[in-house]
């Protein structure tokens, strides 16, 4: 154990002693049954393990004889594969007690009876959380997962580049201004400085499309009856044609995201902004450490007339409906502690930051008011990234309606967008193909059960 880790453990133990009152809402004298609590997770699961280990250390009487293992998976798909295999063979012992998931799989698993309905457990906390915290866990009038975090969509910009070319970042508060900034950078930088980047694969649709321009423009893939409307919906056309302009004018640096060529281009000062997400914080700090002080964060540009930021990304975990669900109660207590035990949360966050992990601002409105979540960050020249995470959750757009058909829809839409980015078809052709292939392969998606 390193000196810092040892200090973290001691601090965690002290916090545990001090924070008994803050978890007073939980049942006293709880004891989990001996055994192993298994969690299938993705993203950066080591931080979930850190959180659970921390809870176990602070609450030894609850977890006597209990161990916890967070099993890292490649992503949501693998979690669903493992869940599907265990469920199809009815081998509940092989099923995890808790799983990380996304709304598409959550809906399918909820329908199949794999997930525990947590509506009654979550209901009392709704007013304590930021708006939208439950949105993605809601399906057919019930809540099927516990929200762990809600990350906003932020625009990261390289202040040094903008200063060099005399550009005021306030110009990027609208998409018209954002486009104009791109044009100025291209002209002043002799085509070597780009407004942002585009990925030749599926991530362009994920970040620019599903999480960014589409919800910001109020776009829809399906109408409430499940009919395909992406090729005629005014919002969808606005979003896709805006992206077309950025691409055709050569304002986007074409490179695979999360790979060395993009880190290098960023270091060389060729990328002025990153649209759109909060995860670029980890991306930049881990791969472009030497750029400390260069970057700043702001709310993303908005479309005139819509005036909404991007759709926040939720991190949700479901409790599986195993017979007797031995660790359901324990996980709820861990979740509650994470959201309402302020000293423990701060100590945990400091340790995560020390390891270059994701900040994950609290969902709790009261916690967000604490000074800790407004502390300056040297990487952003003294600007508080944590505060921006909180502020970024104001004025957000709603996520596009997710249906059980959306995993397939994403592959179809992304394939057409990729062909456009590769200059193998025009945007008009891409949009027409999106509509045609969605109708051919999916037909109609499930109607909106919550309209």
């Amino acid at each position: 154990m390193t000196g810092r880790s040892a200090r973290f453990v001691i601090l965690a133990a002290l916090i545990g002693a001090l924070s008994v009152t803050s978890v007073g809402a939980q049942t006293k004298g709880f004891k989990a049954p001996p055994g192993k609590m298994v969690i299938w997770a993705f993203g950066q699961p080591k931080f979930l393990q850190l959180q659970i280990d921390d809870y176990f250390q602070r609450n030894p009487s609850e977890v006597q004889g209990v161990t916890a293992e967070v099993v890292a998976t490649k992503g949501e798909e693998e979690v669903r594969q493992k869940t599907m295999l265990a469920y199809a063979s009815q081998t509940w012992d092989d099923m995890a007690d808790v799983i990380s998931t996304f709304p598409v799989s959550m809906q399918a698993m909820a329908e199949a009876g794999v997930l525990m309905d947590v509506t009654s457990y979550l209901a009392p906390f709704k007013d304590k959380f930021v708006a939208g915290a439950y949105d993605q866990a809601f399906y057919k009038g019930r809540l099927w997962a516990l929200p762990r975090s809600l990350r906003p969509q932020l625009l990261f910009y390289n202040k040094q580049i903008l200063d060099k070319y005399g550009i005021d970042p306030k110009q990027m508060t609208t998409f018209e201004g954002y486009l104009e900034v791109g044009r100025r950078l291209k002209a002043a930088g002799n085509g070597q400085v780009f407004l942002s980047y585009e990925d030749p694969g599926s991530r362009t649709w994920r970040y620019w499309g599903r999480r960014g321009l589409m919800p910001q423009a109020g776009a829809r893939i399906w109408d409430d009856d499940g009919n395909v409307v992406i090729d005629k919906d005014p919002g969808a056309l606005k979003a896709l044609h805006y992206f077309e302009t950025l691409h055709k004018e050569g304002l986007l640096f074409n490179s695979v995201i999360l790979q060395p060529p993009l880190y290098q281009a960023t270091r060389e000062g060729r990328i002025a902004t990153f649209y759109i997400g909060a995860f670029y914080d980890e991306f930049l700090k881990a791969n472009d450490k030497d750029m400390a002080g260069a970057w700043r964060v702001m709310a993303p540009p908005v479309f005139s007339g819509v005036n909404l930021g991007g759709a926040p990304v939720v991190d949700i975990v479901g409790i599986t409906a195993k017979p007797n669900a031995p660790y359901a109660e324990l996980y709820k207590r861990i979740w509650y502690d994470y959201n309402f035990n302020s000293p423990a949360r701060q100590a945990y966050t400091l340790e995560v930051l020390r390891q270059n992990g994701p900040v994950q601002n609290p969902l709790s409105k009261a916690m967000l008011e604490e000074a800790f979540w407004k502390e300056p960050d040297p990487y952003y020249g003294g600007q508080s990234f944590k505060q921006m995470e909180g502020l970024g959750l104001r004025n957000v757009s709603k996520n596009m309606r997710v249906t059980t058909a959306d995993a397939e829809a994403d592959t179809i839409i992304s394939a057409e967008l990729e062909k456009f980015i590769a200059n193998a078809q025009t945007m008009d052709q891409a949009i027409a193909n999106m509509g045609a292939v969605l109708r051919e392969k999916i037909g109609t998606a499930p109607a909106n059960p919550d309209r």
């Binding site: 798909e77 669903r80 594969q81 869940t83 599907m84 295999l85 469920y87 199809a88 399918a108 698993m109 329908e111 199949a112 794999v114 030749p200 694969g201 599926s202 640096f253 074409n254 490179s255 695979v256 790979q259 060395p260 060529p261 290098q264 281009a265 059980t404 995993a407 397939e408 592959t411 394939a415 057409e416 990729e418 062909k419 980015i421 590769a422 200059n423 193998a424 292939v437 051919e440 392969k441």
Partner: protein
Amino acid sequence: MWAMRHAYAFIAPFYLLFLVFGAFPLVWSLYLTFQEWDGLRPMKHVGLRNFAMLLRDQRFLDALGNTAIYWTVDVAFIICLALLMAVLLHTPRLSGRRFYRLVLFLPNVTATVAVGLVFIMLFDFNSGLVNALLGSLGLPRLGWLNSTGLSKVPVMVLAIWRATPWYMLILLSGLQAINPELYQAATVDGAGPVQKLFRITIPSLATVLFFCFLTETIDSFRLFTEPYITTGGGPGSSSLSIVQYLYESGFTVFKLGYASAIGYVLTVILMVISAAQVIFLRRGGGAMGSAP
């Protein structure tokens, strides 16, 4: 049969395992081809709809076309290069043969995923070594990974680079089995190296070459990791392989019936190609089993 019960008892474990892990999945996946199922909710019988959809699915047809290209190019390059390398390694006058054999075999023991990531860097449009080399020759940079026309090239280069050493080793062992007296006799008769290659080496290796051809055909149709890592099958479906599409259908969008239908189409294609190869070889002089 009762008299042979001990023998049956000894071979029973294989058949039991085959039944559970071979025959049952085969029959089950055939059943699935007629169903719509996401692995969680109840199945829905759809008859032949999955197969009918395949015929109209442009992504499937693209994957099929790409796989045919991978097969043709990979088989041609891999077998020619493997034969060339094996012949060179078999040259009696070559010193340091063990060292060359080791070095040439290394690509086959490297992890495809790790090498795939290296290939992404090599073929990167902006900072890749391949484009830097083209630039140094005064040629324009090419979008190896981000254009629909060229995205298959890195995939094929990686597949060829990885598989060639394996076939080189097989052909080398075939070469070592050829009777050296044949070459001595040919030398006495005044045959040159090229004549020896085409008159002795290749005919003697016919069975081994057929084995290489068949196994590489199957491997090419099963190509997955190379496009999955380097291009993700894109842009669009320009480098998508058929097994990658099967995986995507089954384990990304969870259409297990549709994925099973793709699997069965692939099986039929491989059976037809393999049968055609066997017939072709038998008709072409009965070379099978004719190695000296």
